[in-house]
C-alpha cells in the first residue's frame, strides 16, 4: 500500500522565512556567506575551496607526469620534481581527499537526509571550515617559503633536514585536523539526535551510514596525527630525541604514529564514497540496495578494523616479523567487507530499472576502478609479494585506483547527482557522459601502466629512471592528459550550467530520499516547512507511488518541472 511521508500537522519548525526565497536567494552579500551557519552554505564554501585545491593538486600531478615523459631532465631539476610530488600528495590527501565528500556533500545533504533543519552544532560547523581554510593557506605558504620535498609521509630523519617549511606544513596539518574532528563530532551527534520521527537506523539512507562510520574514524584517529606532527614540531624546535636517531630517537616510531592515523585516514576517504555509491545505484536502478544491513554494518566494520592494519605500510621497515604477519592477516579481513559491498551493489541492479545518466556512469566506473584498486590492495597485502612491490609504482597505482578511482569518481557522481538540488540547475547530460568516459579511459591509461612498471621494479618517487621503463611512463603521461581534459570539461560545463543550465525540478531523478521528496527546487534556509514523518525505507520506490504517478519525479532530468510543489518563490536564479 502506498503509505508515504505525511505531514505532521502543527509541527511547523519555523514560519515566514520560506516566503523570502530559498537558501541561496534569501540573503545576499559576501558577508552573509562567510558568516553563515547554514550547513548548505558552509558546504558550498567547502566545495569551492575544495575545487580550487583539487585543481592545484591536479596541476602538480600533470607537471610531475610531464617531467617523467623522458628519463633524465625534461622540464625541471630533481629538487623541483621532489617538491612537486610531495606537494601533490600533501595537497591531495590533506587538502582534498580527507575533507572532500563529508565536508562538501555531507554538510549539505546529511541534515536533509535526516529531516533535520541543520547539523547539531552549526557554529562548530562554520569553525570547521575556517580551520580547514587556514590549513590550506599554510600549505601554500610552506610551498612558497621552502623546499618541502619529504613526500606527504614526512619520514624522519630526512624530514628534519628540510628546515622551516616543515614547520609550516606540520602546523597546517595540525590545524586542518581540527576541521576533520569538528565535522566528525557534528555528524555523530546530528545522526544520533536529530533524525525525523519514523527515521529508524534501518531506514537511514546508506550515505548517512557511510558518514557515520567516517565520523567515528575522524574523531578517533585525527588526534593521533595531531599529536604526531606536534611531537615532530617540538623535536625540531626543542631538539628532543623522539624520532631522530641522531638525538636518540627512533625513525620507525614516527612511521608507527604516522600510519596509525594515515591508514584510518584512507577509510575516512572511502567510506563516504561508499555511501554515495549506494545512493547512486539505488536511485538509478530504482531498486532497493541489495543487503542493506550488510552494507550498513560493513561500513562500521571497516571503520573499526581500519585501526588495526597500519603496519601493512611497514612490512620492510624493520618492524618485527610477527607484527607484519598480524597486520597482513587483518588487512585481508578488511578486504572482505569492501568486497561484500561491491557484490551487493551489482546485485542491486538485478531486476532494477537502470538509467544510465551521468551519475550512474560514475557509479559504474567506481565499481570497475575500485575493484581493481581492491584486488591490487590484496596483492600488496601478501607479505612475500609486498617485499617486491613495496615503494614501487605498483603501490602508487593501487592507491590511485582506490583514492582517485574510488573517492574522486564517487565525488564526481555525487556532484552530478546533487547538482540540481544544490544549484537548482541541470548540467547538460551529453557533455556529462562524454567527460565521464574521457575520465574513465584517461584514468586507466594513466594508472594501469603503473601497475605493470611497478611489478617490473620501477621505484616510486624517482625523478630519473632506466630506459626500460620509458614506454610505460609515456603511456601514463598521455593518460594524465586525457584524464585532465575530462576533468576540465566537467568544470567547464558545470560552471556554464550555473548561468545557462535548465532549471531543475525538485526531483529530477525520481529519488526517494528526503532531500528530493520534501524540498523545493532548492531547499529553504531551514530545509523543511515541517519535520517530515518517515514511514518507509529510503529506497522503497514501490511504496512511493506519489513519486511516479505523475507530477514530481517523472522527469528525465532535463525537462522543465511538471506540477511542482511550490514551496519557494522560484526566483530567476
Amino acid at each position: 500500500m502506498a503509505e508515504t511521508y505525511t505531514r505532521h500537522a502543527g509541527e511547523a519548525t519555523h514560519s515566514g522565512h520560506h516566503d523570502h526565497g530559498d537558501y541561496i536567494t534569501h540573503e545576499k552579500g559576501l558577508w552573509s556567506w562567510l558568516s553563515s551557519v547554514d550547513h548548505k552554505r558552509i558546504g558550498i564554501m567547502y566545495g569551492i575551496t575544495l575545487s580550487i585545491v583539487f585543481l592545484l593538486g591536479g596541476i602538480f600531478a600533470l607537471l610531475v607526469r610531464f617531467e617523467l615523459l623522458n628519463p633524465g631532465e625534461t622540464i625541471m631539476t630533481a629538487a623541483t620534481y621532489n617538491q612537486l610530488f610531495s606537494l601533490h600528495g600533501i595537497v591531495m590527501v590533506f587538502g582534498f581527499l580527507v575533507p572532500s565528500i563529508p565536508a562538501f556533500f555531507g554538510n549539505i545533504i546529511l541534515p536533509l537526509h535526516l529531516g533535520a533543519k541543520d547539523v547539531a552544532f552549526p557554529r562548530l560547523n562554520l569553525a570547521s571550515y575556517y580551520f580547514y581554510l587556514t590549513g590550506v593557506i599554510l600549505i601554500l605558504v610552506a610551498m612558497l617559503v621552502g623546499n618541502v620535498d619529504t613526500g606527504w609521509t614526512f619520514y624522519t630523519p630526512y624530514s628534519k633536514t628540510v628546515g622551516n617549511s616543515l614547520l609550516f606544513v606540520t602546523m597546517a596539518v595540525f590545524i586542518a585536523g581540527f576541521a576533520s574532528i569538528f565535522t566528525g563530532i557534528n555528524f555523530i551527534v546530528t545522526i544520533h539526535k536529530m533524525r525525523a520521527p519514523g527515521l529508524t537506523w534501518n531506514r537511514l539512507p546508506l550515505f548517512v551510514w557511510g558518514l557515520y562510520a567516517t565520523s567515528i574514524v575522524q574523531v578517533l584517529a585525527t588526534p593521533v596525527l595531531g599529536i604526531t606532527v606536534l611531537l615532530l614540531f617540538l623535536e625540531v624546535v626543542l631538539k628532543i630525541g623522539i624520532f631522530d636517531p641522531a638525538l636518540g630517537g627512533d625513525p620507525i616510531l614516527f612511521q608507527h604514529f604516522f600510519w596509525f592515523y594515515s591508514h584510518p585516514a584512507v577509510y575516512i576517504m572511502i567510506l563516504p564514497a561508499f555511501g554515495v555509491i549506494s545512493e547512486l545505484i539505488a536511485t538509478f536502478s530504482r531498486q532497493r540496495i541489495y543487503g542493506y544491513t550488510a552494507i550498513a554494518l560493513s561500513s562500521v566494520a571497516i571503520a573499526m578494523l581500519g585501526f588495526l592494519v597500519w603496519g601493512h605500510h611497514m612490512f620492510v621497515s624493520g618492524q618485527s616479523a610477527i607484527s607484519s604477519v598480524m597486520f597482513s592477516l587483518i588487512t585481508y579481513l578488511i578486504g572482505i567487507p569492501s568486497g561484500i559491498k561491491v557484490f551487493n551493489w551489482v546485485a542491486t541492479m538485478y531486476k532494477g530499472s537502470i538509467w544510465l545518466q551521468t551519475p550512474m556512469l560514475y557509479a559504474l566506473s567506481f565499481l570497475f576502478l575500485f575493484t581493481i584498486g581492491g584486488v591490487t590492495g590484496i596483492m600488496v597485502g601478501v607479505l612475500a609479494v609486498d617485499i617486491h612491490l613495496h615503494d614501487t609504482y605498483y603501490v602508487v597505482a593501487h592507491f590511485h585506483y582506490v583514492m582517485m578511482g574510488g573517492t574522486v569518481i564517487a565525488a564526481l557522481g555525487a556532484l552530478h547527482y546533487w547538482w540540481p538540488k544544490i544549484t537548482g540547475r541541470m548540467y547538460s547530460e551529453v557533455p556529462g557522459r562524454i567527460a565521464a568516459v574521457l575520465i574513465f579511459l584517461g584514468f586507466n591509461l594513466t594508472f594501469f601502466p603503473q601497475l605493470i612498471m611497478g611489478a617490473k621494479g620501477m621505484p616510486r618517487r624517482y625523478y630519473d629512471y632506466d630506459t626500460e621503463f620509458t614506454i610505460w611512463h609515456q603511456l601514463s603521461t598521455y593518460g594524465s592528459w586525457l584524464l585532465g581534459a575530462g576533468l576540465l570539461m566537467v568544470a567547464a560545463y558545470m560552471i556554464w550550467s550555473l548561468f545557462k543550465g535548465k532549471k531543475a525540478s525538485p526531483n529530477p531523478w525520481g529519488a526517494a530520499t528526503l532531500e528530493w521528496t520534501h524540498t523545493g527546487r532548492r531547499p529553504d534556509p531551514h530545509n523543511f516547512r515541517q519535520t517530515p514523518l518517515v514511514t518507509r525505507g529510503p529506497y522503497d520506490y514501490y511504496l512511493a507511488e506519489d513519486l511516479f504517478g505523475g507530477g514530481d519525479g517523472v522527469g528525465d532530468g532535463a525537462s522543465t518541472p511538471a506540477s511542482v510543489r511550490k514551496s519557494t518563490t522560484d526566483e530567476d536564479v
Binding site: 538485478y350 531486476k351 596483492m379
Partner: protein, 306 residues
C-alpha cells in the same frame, strides 16, 4: 609481462604467488564487471514511470559471498606467510656482506675487508646475507630480480638474504625517498662464480695500473661525485670542479683557503671540516677510499683547471 626475470632461489615462489593472486583477481573482476554490464543492459529502463518490484536478498547468496572470499584470502595469506618466513630467515652458512648506505651511494664491505662502492659482487648459488645500516637517513635496498627489499636504518642494522641463481649484472635501487639524489642512488649487483669472486676480492679496489687522472675519472663516476660536482662550471649541490684546483675558496665561516692537494684530500675524507660558502654540509665522508684512490681523484680534479 609483469615481472622481471627471476635470479634468486625464492624469485620463482614469489612469482607464483603473484600470478595466482593476479589471475584470481582477474577472474573475480571479470565476473563482477561482466555481471554489472550484463545487468545494466538487461534491465535498462524502458519507461520513465516503471517501478520494479523489490527483490528480497537471499541469505544463502549473501553468506556465500562472504565465506568464499574469506576462504580465498586465508589461502593466500597462508601461502604468503610461509614464503615470508623463508624470506626472513637466512640459511646458517650465508656469506655475509655489509652494506652502508649514505646519501647517495652504496658501499659494500666483504668478509676480507675489501670495500667497493656502487657494485655488489656476490657468489652464485650460495646464500648471501646483507647486514645493512645507514650513515644518515632512511634508505632501502631493493634488487628486483632477487625480489628482495629491506629498509636501511641509521640507528640499527637490518638484514636481507638471497641466493642468486643466475650470473650477470643486475640493478640495485634505493627505494626509500632520501632527497635530491634518491633516483641516482643506484648500484649494480654482479653475480659471479665463487672463483671469480675470490679473484676479484684479491685485487678489488687496488688498481695499480690505470694512470691516476684516468683512474680518478672512473672514480668520479663510480663514487657518485658526478651527482653533486659538475665539470662545466655549473654549481650544483657541491662546487664545480672546473677551475677549482688552485683557486681561492671562501668558506662558510668567512675565512678563505687556497684549494691545494691538502684541502682536496681533507674535503674527500672529512668534508664537513671546511665547507665552501653557499653550500650545505651534505657531502658524505669517503673514508673507504684507499690512498691511491684519493690521489687519483685529486689528480683528476687538478686536470679540470687548465
Amino acid at each position: 609481462m609483469w615481472l622481471p626475470e627471476g635470479a634468486s632461489t625464492l624469485a620463482p615462489e614469489v612469482d607464483s604467488l603473484f600470478y595466482f593472486v593476479t589471475w584470481a583477481s582477474a577472474i573475480l573482476f571479470v565476473g563482477v564487471i561482466g555481471a554489472m554490464v550484463y545487468l545494466a543492459i538487461r534491465y535498462r529502463r524502458r519507461s520513465t514511470t516503471e517501478v520494479p518490484a523489490p527483490v528480497e536478498p537471499s541469505k544463502f547468496i549473501e553468506i556465500s559471498w562472504i565465506v568464499i572470499p574469506t576462504i580465498l584470502v586465508l589461502i593466500v595469506f597462508n601461502w604468503g606467510f610461509k614464503l615470508f618466513m623463508k624470506q626472513g630467515i637466512a640459511p646458517p652458512e650465508s656469506y655475509e656482506i655489509r652494506a652502508t648506505a649514505s646519501s647517495w651511494k652504496w658501499d659494500f664491505e666483504y668478509p676480507d675487508g675489501t670495500v667497493s662502492t656502487g657494485e655488489l659482487h656476490v657468489p652464485a648459488n650460495r646464500p648471501v646475507r646483507m647486514v645493512m645500516s645507514s650513515t644518515d637517513v632512511l634508505h632501502s635496498f631493493f634488487v628486483p630480480v632477487f625480489r628482495v627489499k629491506q629498509d636501511v636504518l641509521p640507528n640499527r642494522y637490518s638484514y636481507v638474504w638471497f641466493e642468486a641463481t643466475k650470473q650477470g649484472e643486475f640493478d640495485v635501487y634505493c627505494t626509500e625517498y632520501c632527497g635530491t639524489g634518491h633516483s641516482a642512488m643506484l648500484a649494480t649487483v654482479i653475480v659471479e662464480s665463487q672463483s671469480d669472486l675470490d679473484a676479484w676480492l684479491e685485487t678489488a679496489g687496488v688498481d695499480e695500473d690505470t694512470p691516476l687522472p684516468e683512474y680518478g675519472a672512473q672514480l668520479y663516476e663510480q663514487q657518485m661525485c658526478v651527482q653533486c660536482h659538475s665539470l662545466d662550471g655549473t654549481p650544483q649541490i657541491g662546487p664545480t670542479f672546473q677551475g677549482l684546483f688552485g683557486s681561492t675558496e671562501e668558506l662558510t665561516d668567512g675565512s678563505t683557503v687556497e684549494v691545494d692537494d691538502n684541502y682536496l684530500r681533507e674535503s674527500i675524507l672529512e668534508p664537513a671540516a671546511r665547507v665552501a660558502a653557499g653550500y650545505q654540509p651534505v657531502m658524505p665522508a669517503y673514508g673507504s677510499l684507499n690512498e691511491r684512490q684519493v690521489s687519483a681523484l685529486i689528480e683528476f680534479i687538478k686536470e679540470q683547471s687548465p
